[in-house]
Symmetry: C2
Subunit: 139 residues, 2 copies
Amino acid sequence: MTIPQQSSLLRMSTFRLARRLRAQKSDDSVSDAQFAVLATLSIHGEHTLSALAERERVSAPSMNRTVNCLEEAGYLARAEDAIDRRKTNISLTASGIELVEATVSKRDAWLTERMRALTADERDLLARAAELMGRLATQ
Amino acid sequence: MTIPQQSSLLRMSTFRLARRLRAQKSDDSVSDAQFAVLATLSIHGEHTLSALAERERVSAPSMNRTVNCLEEAGYLARAEDAIDRRKTNISLTASGIELVEATVSKRDAWLTERMRALTADERDLLARAAELMGRLATQ
DNA sequence: TATTGTTATACTCTATAACTATA
DNA sequence: TATAGTTATAGAGTATAACAATA
């Protein structure tokens, strides 16, 4: 198999699996865009609005709106920066942490159940592949 | 490593790689939702509106709107069904086929370039993993 | 009566341009 | 003057409810 053929296979399988995983949510009231923000705050901690916009590759006004919705729903909180008063520091509330954990658990449970149907060798192969995929994505 | 740990690794890497791949487009004027429709028509051929809505898991009015945009942009065409005149058959135009091929090429080129940095054994491992991921997604 | 597609309406996500407050 | 955040406005994607045409 040529390298382009291998790439094409990996691209298709990655999209299909990501799509199935994304469908596993713990709460339908939060959109994909909103959940991505909560997940980013969960993994990388407190962000200013513009840092969050840059990381999610959307405009600041767009992120501002999404943050407004999430703040209103009680999943995150804004706090004025003590030093630079133009900035607002955005972080998860207890309720936001809970929602991220519940969704991550649901997705992992869905995948774990399907991985039990594989052999130990196949699971090991997938774990090693995951490490390589991470490297490809950050390259 | 436990099965849940393997699952969690695979989930994170899949999302990261899918995100990077999705960012590789050949034309910024077509949204993700619109491109997904074009890709579905490219892979699975002609669809009625409701078949398309069901496959993309959105409502019929939502799909109708997306199809309107794509029709106006000239990427797909509606045709009346000869037998059942309630139905409209939706298929890609030459321009639509071209756009799908250009985007797929760009994504594959991006991934192929990064896979060249791996060893032959690592690429082979990823190709076998892709097959397993496809199986997990359809299970 | 049921199905297919569409229109009406409303809310979220997206963007650019313009504004406010602070540095 | 520059930067961080926000508001104004407009276009696209999502949904449910209601409608027209056809089976």
